[in-house]
């Protein structure tokens, strides 16, 4: 039988790490997108104001419609401030 959901381990940084910890597990339906992940995570922030992040899959920036595969390295990237 094919599983209907996948648990993704998600890395968090900066303000998002402060709010939710450096790593969380998120269960999503198979075929879920980056936008689905962000919606699921936002539900955990209890209305705390956090800057809108982007997502990286396997250390590359992903678009909202990109599908997350089992085993992908998933990271929440808040607005960057290097330099």
């Amino acid at each position: 039988m094919t599983p209907s959901s996948v648990t993704h381990r998600v890395l968090l940084f900066a303000s998002w790490s402060d709010a939710l910890g450096p790593q969380v597990e998120v269960e999503l339906p198979v075929g879920a997108s980056v936008a689905d992940l962000l919606a699921s995570l936002s539900a955990r922030t209890d209305g705390r104001p956090l800057p809108k992040p982007v997502v990286a899959l396997n250390q590359r920036y992903a678009r909202p419609a990109d599908v997350i595969a089992a085993g992908d390295e998933v990271a929440i990237i808040p607005p960057v401030a290097g330099g």
Binding site: L11, F13, A14, S15, P51, K52, P53, V54, A56, Q59, R60, Y61, A62, R63, P64, A75, I77, P78, P79, V80, A81, G82, G83
Partner: protein, 147 residues
């Protein structure tokens, strides 16, 4: 070309020596340091953190773009993470090229793209005891992934 996220003080002259060569007539050195005010608020220090493997990958991508655009492979970048005091260097970029204009243009490209795209974060410490995460782009996201 070499890029690195490091957790120790940076040595700008060492990076300059790394890129300089008798074949190149121009070397440029950019040093970004912790400034004592930001947007009018007195700053006492900055915590830098990074998603290190992606940050190094993204810095390497930026350097490759600069290499293709400005025709030099003599680019070295080190970005420091950890807690930095006022005046300490957070980033050093050294570029060498046969010609000064290309060296300076390549360096400008690298620092501007790093500020937009590399997953590094800073939390400023203010004189009043508060700390806040800083946002280089005013809340916008990299153009290539904007919805």
């Amino acid at each position: 070309m070499r890029v690195a996220i490091v957790d120790h003080p940076l040595d700008p002259t060492a990076l300059l020596a790394e890129v300089a060569d008798v074949a190149t007539g121009a070397s440029t050195l950019f040093v970004g340091t912790v400034r004592r005010t930001n947007l009018g608020r007195p700053v006492t220090g900055i915590d830098y953190s990074a998603y290190a493997p992606m940050a190094e990958r993204e810095m390497a991508t930026i350097c490759k773009e600069a290499m293709a655009q400005f025709a030099t492979d003599r680019i070295v970048v080190e970005h420091r993470v950890g807690t930095l005091a006022l005046g300490e260097a957070s980033i050093v970029i050294a570029v060498a090229h046969e010609r000064r204009a290309a060296a300076m243009d390549a360096q400008r490209y690298v620092i501007e793209e790093i500020k937009k795209r590399v997953p590094v974060w800073k939390r400023e410490h203010y004189a009043d005891g508060t700390r806040e995460w800083v946002d280089n782009l005013g809340g916008s996201v990299p153009a290539e992934v904007a919805p």
